[in-house]
């Protein structure tokens, strides 16, 4: 099998608001764990676990640098989410949206 063998998928990874906030922080720039956890009221260990879950979903990647581990955003798996969403867009569509959808299909 393939990506679906992952323990934590994208849908589950982004379900938690703390993890979404972590993603937002990493979208700005790559950061070490301590810097990330400084933005939250919870422990560094808790953030570390969230990063682990995000890692499993391949939404972030950590590279070791000295005694730190720098995490960076890895947005690719969000494409799966986008694809899932695309199916439902037809249900709230107006004409411009529909046109846009057709254009997208031709691009991809």
């Amino acid at each position: 099998m393939g990506a679906s063998a992952r323990k934590h998928d994208v849908f589950q990874a982004i379900a938690d608001p703390t993890r979404r906030e972590v993603l937002r922080l990493l979208a700005e720039k790559e950061r070490p764990i301590s810097e990330i956890s400084a933005h939250f009221p919870i422990s560094r260990t808790a953030i570390s676990k969230h990063l682990h879950i995000l890692s499993e979903a391949e939404l972030v990647r950590g590279k070791k640098a000295g005694r730190e581990r720098i995490y960076q955003l890895q947005p690719e798996p969000l494409k799966e989410l986008k694809q899932w969403l695309a199916y439902y867009e037809q249900f709230w569509d107006n004409k411009l949206q529909k046109l846009k959808y057709i254009v997208e299909e031709e691009i991809e």
Copy 2:
């Protein structure tokens, strides 16, 4: 407060694969609970709970019809997800995607 006061939000609602499958079934057509639960190996009560969660997230709506309750898809809350996603699209963008993003902004 406002919509964010909801107990279950869209992100959490779609995190569960069973609930995503329920949404897919309701995207085809509206259905009563018994018909929905016939598609799953778990109990009708379990499905009922999933529908309750989807209801809280306003992704489905149930209307009473005789002794049945017919559920239908209510896709609007997925717009929030789309908006969230749009922010991250810039990170995997190629030029065509970027152009599309600009077009979208002008439409909405």
